[in-house]
């Protein structure tokens, strides 16, 4: 599928979605409120067939957080990047780990590194950091005077 | 007192001591181990008496078989590491009474029996003799009890298999 076809398809599913085509793949911006049903629909859509999530991460833009989901189809090999802006003070988003199982560990990682709260995640605990750790290491304002390497 | 008697008293003391530990220990695993040593001591007594075959069978059946079975069932069912609760006082009193009654009874029997000295010839039975007796159909043959025990064991084995089969679908 070309980017144009994907755009048409996605606009059918969610008219409010906006696009950005500057990168390698098509970027889709979605509101957090519409996010969950949008993801369900693009997963189950026969033409889009985005069955493979190869990357899930978050970017801290200092004013807000952006969740980035890289999705791909194992049959037709087109890729779509879904981005969701989150409030930095109270980042909350629905989980997708029942749609793509790989998201479970990735979401836990994002949870502890960025403090994003994934609603309805079955087991949202610290995965990597020690249990008594305070702070979100991958946020831009995180400072650790002892362990951080600065050049 | 010669070496033989000293060895006898050593073995006897060992059996009694481990026996006491077996009934008095409050950790069930320790009891089982003490029971095991007690049974091994009895096998040692048989060796001392030169009835080697019985001694070996004692070890195979009781130590190798039954006690291992007991230990396994302890592993599988009991919380083997924890101390058991202290028994109630009435139970302690009555068990002491039972022990004393048993001691009195046995002491009476022994003193009445009055062991007569038998010849000091080494008591040596060929194993083949035992085998022949076991399967002989003559007046003093043991084939009937032997076969009856075999049937019992077979029934027990089949029972075990049936019990084991039942739990199979659960565990996948």
């Amino acid at each position: 599928m070309t980017n144009e076809e994907i755009k048409i398809k996605i606009t059918e599913i969610l008219p409010a979605a906006t696009f950005d085509e500057t990168g390698e793949w098509l970027n889709v911006f979605v509101e957090a409120s519409a996010f969950r049903s949008f993801m369900e629909q693009i997963r189950s859509d026969k033409d889009l067939d985005l069955d493979y999530m190869f990357c899930l991460t978050c970017v801290d833009w200092k004013t807000h957080l952006t969740m980035v989901y890289h999705l791909s189809s194992t049959n037709t090999r087109h890729c779509v990047v879904v981005k969701v802006k989150l409030d930095r003070d109270k980042p909350e988003i629905e989980t997708v780990c029942d749609i793509w199982r790989t998201a479970e560990l990735h979401e836990r990682e994002v949870f502890e590194m960025f403090g994003v709260n994934f609603l309805h995640h079955p087991d949202l605990r610290l995965l990597i950091l020690p249990d008594d750790f305070i702070g979100y290491p991958l946020r831009k304002d995180f400072e650790d005077p002892i362990n951080m390497i600065k050049l | 007192m010669n070496a033989s008697v000293i060895i006898f008293y050593c073995i006897a003391a060992f059996i009694l001591l481990t026996g006491i530990v077996a009934v008095s220990s409050r950790k069930i695993f320790r009891s089982a181990i003490a029971l095991l040593f007690s049974l091994t001591g009895i096998a040692g007594l048989y060796f001392w008496m030169d009835v080697n075959f019985i001694a070996a069978v004692q070890i195979i059946v009781y130590v190798g078989g039954i006690v291992v079975l007991i230990i396994f069932s302890i592993f599988l069912t009991q919380k083997s590491g924890e101390e058991m609760p202290k028994p109630p006082t009435t139970r302690v009193v009555f068990s002491w009474l039972a022990v004393l009654a048993g001691l009195g009874l046995i002491y009476r029997l022994i003193s009445e029996y009055g062991f007569n000295k038998i010849s000091s010839q080494p008591f040596n039975v060929e194993v083949s003799e035992i085998g022949n007796q076991m399967l002989s159909t003559t007046e003093h043959g043991y084939v009937l009890p032997f076969e009856a025990v075999s049937m019992l064991l077979l029934a027990a084995m089949i029972g075990c298999i049936v019990i084991a089969l039942k739990s199979k679908p659960e565990t996948k």
């Binding site: 390698e24 970027n27 493979y52 970017v59 194992t74 560990l105 050049l151 | 565990t171």
Partner: protein, 371 residues
């Protein structure tokens, strides 16, 4: 963290495999819920060697950060570096000279063979066979020697730089690689004789740890794990980089989905790697080994993503650039992390011995998971 020790409410045994355990090959901590010998659940506890490489990279320049990535999946250090070099080149739109591309691919494939050999030896040792360890290390040593001559290091090579490779390969490079290839073809046969055909080994592996194609995709499994379940996931075929589109090789796809299939996929991949090396080693073109780049690299504002196929699967490097000399945000999508997430699904209902076999065929490298 250790309150799990003990038993669960249902009376199941909880045991900690790791952080120090012979079968995890590193500091991986897994909590197993056992009913007798049957595994009911596996829960990973990560982070024992987490160095936060992603955060570290945010303060390193585009030339520097590549060297940190050798320490992620240290068994395919070349391929990690390759991915980083490629993503920087993508951002700068640099054309890499053909000579460098050839050398890079040969190095990648040698690394893949070395990594698979280490996997083979370690997995055999997990299953209780000790001798394969030494057989595989004998061959791996030859690769390490080649690496050492050319890159100056044996494990964390740091040979790839944005725009090409760091230096000319050693004059003996071609000769040695060819000698190794000729040797290795015979040795691969020896491996099969020793382990693959062994009846105990086959009984341990066949039908164990089944992973269906749907699950493999859903759990994001890549590399040999996915390919053994019949999922096409080889990035070298899907999105060829450097000269992978010019060489002939097969993507090994098997449909068994069990441990033995995963084992076979890796063994066959080694011979495919040999095939790639054979096609390239005699035809390395003349020319520069490095494209001309500026002293200080600055990627334009934007997002760049590069996927490569490491020995363990798909490695993704995601860079968000604000136009500075350092990346604004960098994310490594490591194959081990996703493959690990399928572990719980795969081992349920199997025995401890099977768990070891499944762990072995997942081929986890802990720094790759923890980053």
């Amino acid at each position: 963290m250790f309150e799990e020790i003990g038993t669960t409410a249902e009376g199941d045994l909880l045991i900690n495999v790791g952080p120090q355990h012979p079968a995890t090959h590193g500091v991986l901590h897994l909590v197993l819920t056992l009913n007798g010998e049957i595994i009911k659940k596996v829960e990973p506890h990560l982070g024992y060697i987490h160095r936060s490489i992603e955060k570290m990279c945010e303060s390193l320049s585009y030339r520097q950060f590549i060297y940190v990535t050798s320490r992620m999946d240290y068994l395919s250090a070349h391929i990690n570096n390759h991915a980083c070099a490629l993503v920087v080149e993508k951002g700068l739109q640099v054309e890499v000279p053909l000579r460098a591309q050839y050398i890079r691919v040969i190095m990648d494939e040698l690394t893949r063979i070395a990594s698979h050999e280490l996997w083979w030896s370690a997995m055999s040792m997990d299953l209780g066979a000790f001798t394969p360890y030494f057989l595989a290390f004998r061959e791996r040593e030859k690769i390490n020697e080649i690496m050492e001559e050319t890159c100056g290091a044996r494990l964390t090579m740091n040979y790839m730089v944005p725009g090409g490779v760091m230096a000319e390969p050693h004059p003996d490079f071609q000769k040695k690689v060819k000698a190794f290839v000729a040797d290795f073809k015979k040795t691969l046969h020896e491996y099969d004789e020793l382990i693959t055909g062994n009846i105990i080994f086959q009984n341990r592996m066949k039908g164990v740890g089944y992973l269906s194609p749907e699950d493999a995709i859903s759990y994001g499994c890549t590399g040999p794990v996915a390919r053994a379940s019949g999922v096409k996931s080889d990035i070298r075929k899907i999105a060829p980089y450097d000269v992978y589109d010019k060489v002939e090789f097969d993507e090994i796809i098997e449909t068994g989905g069990d441990c033995f299939t995963r084992y076979q996929v890796r063994i066959k991949e080694m011979s495919q790697s040999i095939r790639i090396i054979e096609q390239l080693i005699d035809n390395i073109p003349d020319g520069d080994f490095q494209a001309k780049t500026k002293a200080v690299l600055k990627l334009p504002k934007g997002e760049f993503y590069q996927r490569v196929e490491t020995a363990r699967g798909e490695l993704g490097v995601y860079i968000v650039s604000e136009g500075a000399a350092q990346p604004y945000r960098i994310k490594f999508r490591s194959p081990g992390f996703s493959n690990l997430s399928a572990l719980d699904h795969m081992v349920r209902g199997y025995k401890i011995g099977d768990f070891i076999a499944i762990m072995g065929t997942l081929d986890l490298v802990i720094p790759d998971i923890d980053r």
